[in-house]
């Protein structure tokens, strides 16, 4: 077998090699090729997604930092800023679930620290194959343990996320991680900071080893095939204790204003951090690899340059501040080393043993990667999938059986097994944590709290990628609004298959359009995110799944509204309207065994009007509870409100609509609220003023859940089914 040329082994195409030759005016050496291979990888360069991402709205008066830096930043008033960002760590997790997920947390937390913000919350949207398969159970338990093992140890509460299960994730779990931090606005470390010639690059934290070499190019930018286990050395190993020390040391450096710049070392390691910060400063750099602390002495140049060893940060420091910086690091027990010096010009020049071993214009690595307009084509057979709509199926199921089947479906059932393995109380700010529509975290010293929610709608995306993305944004915003908070901005993680396939690029382009339209309608710009391609194996891709991480703000957290029915004698209202649309619903999947048809329609204006109603109702103290009505339909929203408040209900069903539509359709723009009788008039007036349709569905009270004459059950029975579903599947 002929040996593969080096550039191809490093993930570079022949054309890309040509572009490198013309930039350098010569053949690149082995080290330079490795640097290009990492920086021009799909993961780092966004070469397939860039032209589409430009369509997203990114600006608003409250957005302080948009896409392109370590994290987006939003002004939340009172001189405070919130930094937030989402990423994927799917490929490493598919190979080594514990470390893959753990280092995913580490990376996203360092992104937040790099903005000068203290990480105050994490959220983890996860997607796995069905738990009926042993390998999926291994991945699921490993990932959850890894998130807990790392996140719990660094003192950042894990306050939310979601877990979905679907067959296409069997070989390709999607592991997304979001972190949120807070900082005084005037202490943010953004690229606006002036970086001076003569400033020093100081590498802080762990030493550099052989782990994670080729993480971005080998793992994240290719599909996972049979021999995946051989890539295990490309997965990094996490040390959360070192991370905790790095967080505290870096925040102290920022607080004492000792830095000109701060960046984490993540994908593409030193090469990425050095080239990006140098390019941003519009300077050059002399990098001395002899100064990099190594775990073993005989690392090769390209290994030092692209190692993804964890828990390292790169600080840019004026020479006169160096002693102070090193003192802080030493006090936290961290190594620090001056590895480079910023110089005039734009060259990134790397030395080892006194010799220049690589010399590349920094901008060429960081900013001038290839950009592809890849071919787009709607997949064949798509119309047939849409036409086979479960809405028109003959339903013979028993309503009570259907209810229990949907409630115990792992997509719907309680995720307590997952979130009880996460510390969600540390830092003392968690007002509402896992299980709530949105997590609510107070901002210390104020009555303000931020609201956080993550949502992905893979099944809808499979049936209509435009709608799938738009629904994900709508549901994220709704989850924030039901608690009484104002949606502010989003970050995202785009989980897709191989972009070199035109069908996947079509899904991607459609999804971006759906996300862009929804974000405009809700005035929630995109402040950053991450694109994870190549989530496929054997030619079968995951469903196109943009996951939205939304940030909201509540001005006075004492007014927040929770989802549980708090007492008896309240009137239950459904805000919004239910349509005969069962396509992509949990009911269609679990009861009808059909994943086809059209997903529910979405009218963005109606959705926005519902958000206004929910926020104003909370501010006016008009509702006793409010809960998003989506996955599983009305029946699940009601059951969750009943279980959470430990209060049953009796419902009147409309006579002119089939029961399975009323109970199980997942129509958009709906919420279930409960209202004290003396506030009914005010609420109805508010809802009518915003032209939001509504219907009075019943009343709260008692231990039973009565669905008109159709069937009844008890809160206790529902809870047993809901809580035991996932643990039961795990014990086999």
């Amino acid at each position: 077998m002929a040996e593969e040329p080096l550039h191809r082994a490093l993930g570079l195409t022949d054309d890309e090699l040509e572009a490198i030759r013309s930039t350098l005016g010569r053949d690149p050496n082995r080290n330079e090729l490795a640097m290009y291979g990492a920086m021009w990888s799909e993961h780092c360069s966004y070469k397939s997604s860039k032209i589409h991402l430009r369509k997203l709205p990114t600006e608003a008066p409250h957005v302080l930092v948009g896409p392109g830096q370590d994290a987006g930043v939003v002004d939340v008033g009172d001189g405070l800023a919130v930094a937030f960002k989402m990423e994927s760590h799917s490929h490493p997790s598919a190979i080594e679930p514990y470390q893959g997920a753990a280092t995913g947390i580490g990376g996203i937390v360092r992104d937040i620290v790099a903005m000068g913000a203290r990480p105050i919350a994490s959220l983890d949207p996860l997607m796995f194959g069905p738990l009926t398969e042993e390998r999926n159970r291994w991945l699921f338990e490993g990932v959850v343990a890894g998130i807990g093992g790392y996140g719990n140890c660094i003192g950042v509460p894990t306050v939310g996320g979601e877990v979905h299960f679907a067959e296409p994730h069997s070989t390709n779990p999607a592991i997304n991680v979001m972190c949120v931090g807070v900082a005084p606005v005037d202490r943010l470390v953004t690229s606006d900071r002036q970086v001076h010639e003569g400033s020093l690059m100081v590498l802080i934290g762990a030493s550099t080893g052989r782990d994670g070499i080729g993480g971005v190019s080998v793992l994240a930018s290719r599909t996972i095939e049979e021999d995946a286990a051989e890539s295990r050395p490309s997965v990094q190993i996490g040390d959360p204790f070192a991370e905790k020390l790095a967080i505290e040391a870096c925040l102290e450096l920022v607080e004492r204003d000792l830095l000109e710049g701060l960046q984490d070392l993540g994908g593409a390691g030193l090469t990425c951090a050095v080239s990006e910060s140098t390019a941003r400063a519009r300077l050059g750099v002399e990098l001395d690899l002899d100064a990099v602390p190594l775990r073993e002495p005989n690392l090769e140049v390209f290994e030092i340059l692209t190692s993804e060893s964890q828990e390292r940060m790169l600080a840019i420091v004026r020479p006169e501040r160096l002693d102070d910086v090193r003192e802080v690091c030493a006090r936290w027990g961290l190594a620090s080393a001056v590895v480079g010096k910023l110089v005039a010009g734009g060259e990134l020049s790397v030395k080892r043993g006194g010799k220049v071993v690589a010399e590349i214009p920094a901008r060429s690595l960081a900013d001038e990667g290839p950009v592809y307009e890849r071919p787009i084509e709607a997949p064949r057979g798509f119309d047939e999938i849409l036409e086979d709509d479960p809405t028109f199926a003959t339903v013979t199921a028993d309503p009570r059986e259907a209810f229990l089947a949907v409630l115990s479906s792992p997509n719907v059932a309680s995720k307590r097994f997952v979130w009880e393995q996460y510390d969600y109380v540390v830092q003392g700010g968690t007002i509402a944590g896992p299980g709530a529509d949105a997590a609510i975290i107070r901002l210390e010293g104020t009555l303000k709290a931020i609201a956080l929610s993550t949502d992905g709608k893979g099944r809808f995306g499979h049936l209509d990628p435009y709608l799938g993305a738009a629904h994900a944004v709508a549901e994220a915003a709704r989850n924030i609004a039901v608690m009484g908070a104002e949606p502010l901005a989003i970050t995202n993680c785009m989980n897709f298959g191989n972009p070199e396939r035109p069908e996947v690029m079509w899904q991607f382009a459609e999804s971006i359009q759906g996300m862009a339209d929804a974000c405009r309608a809700f005035e929630t710009p995109v402040t950053g995110g991450n694109v994870s391609f190549y989530n496929e194996s054997g030619g079968s891709a995951i469903w196109p799944t943009p996951v939205i991480g939304m940030l909201g703000l509540i001005a006075d957290y004492r007014l927040l509204v929770r989802s549980g029915f708090p007492e008896s004698g309240l009137l239950i209202y459904l805000l919004g309207e239910t349509f005969p649309e069962l396509g992509g619903s949990e009911f269609a999947d679990v009861v009808l065994r059909q994943i086809s048809g059209r997903p529910p329609a979405l009218d963005l204006e109606r959705e926005a009007a519902l958000h206004r109603v929910l926020i104003e109702a909370a501010n006016g103290d008009l509702v006793a509870s409010a809960h998003d009505c989506s996955d599983g339909g009305l029946v699940v929203a009601l059951a969750e409100s009943a279980m959470s408040g430990d209060t049953g209900f009796a419902l009147t069903l409309p006579g002119d609509v089939p029961w399975y539509v009323t109970l199980f359709a997942e129509s958009a723009s709906r919420a279930v609220v409960s209202v004290s009788p003396d506030k009914v008039e005010d609420l109805e007036a508010l809802v009518a003023a915003h032209h939001v349709p509504f219907s009075r569905m019943g009343e709260t009270g008692g231990p039973r859940m009565v669905f008109d004459t159709l069937f009844e059950t008890t809160v206790e029975e529902a809870r047993a089914v809901y809580e035991e579903a996932i643990p039961k599947l795990l014990t086999g």
């Binding site: 807990g148 204790f241 905790k244 006090r331 979130w419 009880e420 109380v425 003392g428 007002i431």
Partner: protein, 236 residues
């Protein structure tokens, strides 16, 4: 409240996580929280010492096994031996056990999984800095969050702990019944916390500092920290 606010020192080890939360909770309850640093031989004249939760030194080797050699632990030991109040919460409890200031040890939870949950604990003694003036049998709701909280002791030690009334807290049902169903981590005899014989050192796995502010959780920690603050003031 007397004219002087009791000063409670909270030690930060590398990897401590709930240190700021403990300081905040002490202030919330009307005391003065004093940050103490592991590498200093200085308790800053505090009236009581609290070793907070977290993963000191990454919990490497064994939970609390490295922290007990920290510089400040000499002072903490002297402080305890002088009869002053010392409290260990979660990782702090593990450190006190490793340091030999409390009997028993803490190993991985029965499920082998980390668990974060609000639990009910029953007060078993009035003779500890956290429970002075409280009535045994009282049930408090407090969160636990730990991977290694299963209390164990040799048969002899366990007999002594029980015989001398050194159990400070047990996991229980909301009505106070002790039953294995509510034994969140599989601890011997459902033990959630123990004290020393003298009654001035106490450790527990539940986090009272996360149970004082009703905005962010249950309030079962309030009487415990109130007891600590009044005990701190009484110190000679």
């Amino acid at each position: 409240m007397s004219e002087r606010r009791p000063r409670v020192g909270v030690v930060t080890f590398p990897g401590s996580l709930d240190d700021r939360d403990a300081l905040r909770a002490i202030a919330f309850m009307g005391g003065e929280g004093v940050p103490l640093w592991h590498a200093e031989h200085d308790l800053k004249g505090v009236d009581a010492v609290l070793l907070p939760g977290g993963f000191s030194y990454g919990d490497y080797l064994r939970t609390g096994a490295i922290a007990r050699f920290a510089a400040i632990m000499g002072e903490v030991r002297d402080f305890a031996e002088a009869g002053a109040p010392v409290v260990g919460v979660c990782n702090g409890f593990q450190i006190l056990c490793e340091a030999g200031l409390l009997p028993g040890a803490l190993i991985r939870n029965r499920t082998l999984r980390f668990i974060c949950r609000s639990v009910d604990v029953r007060i078993e003694t009035s003779l500890s800095p956290l429970t002075e003036g409280l009535v045994p049998g009282e049930v408090l709701r407090i969160p636990v969050k730990h991977g290694e909280g299963q209390f164990v002791a040799s048969r002899g030690d366990l007999e002594q702990i029980e015989g001398e009334g050194l159990v400070a807290f047990r996991y229980c049902a909301p009505d106070g019944t002790v039953d294995d169903e509510f034994n969140v981590n599989g601890s011997a005899n459902s033990i959630a916390g123990v004290r020393n014989a003298r009654g001035n050192v106490v450790g527990l796995m539940p986090h009272p500092e996360h149970a004082v502010d009703p905005d962010v959780g249950p309030t079962g920690g309030q009487p415990l920290l109130a007891s600590l603050l009044s005990r701190a003031l009484m110190r000679v």
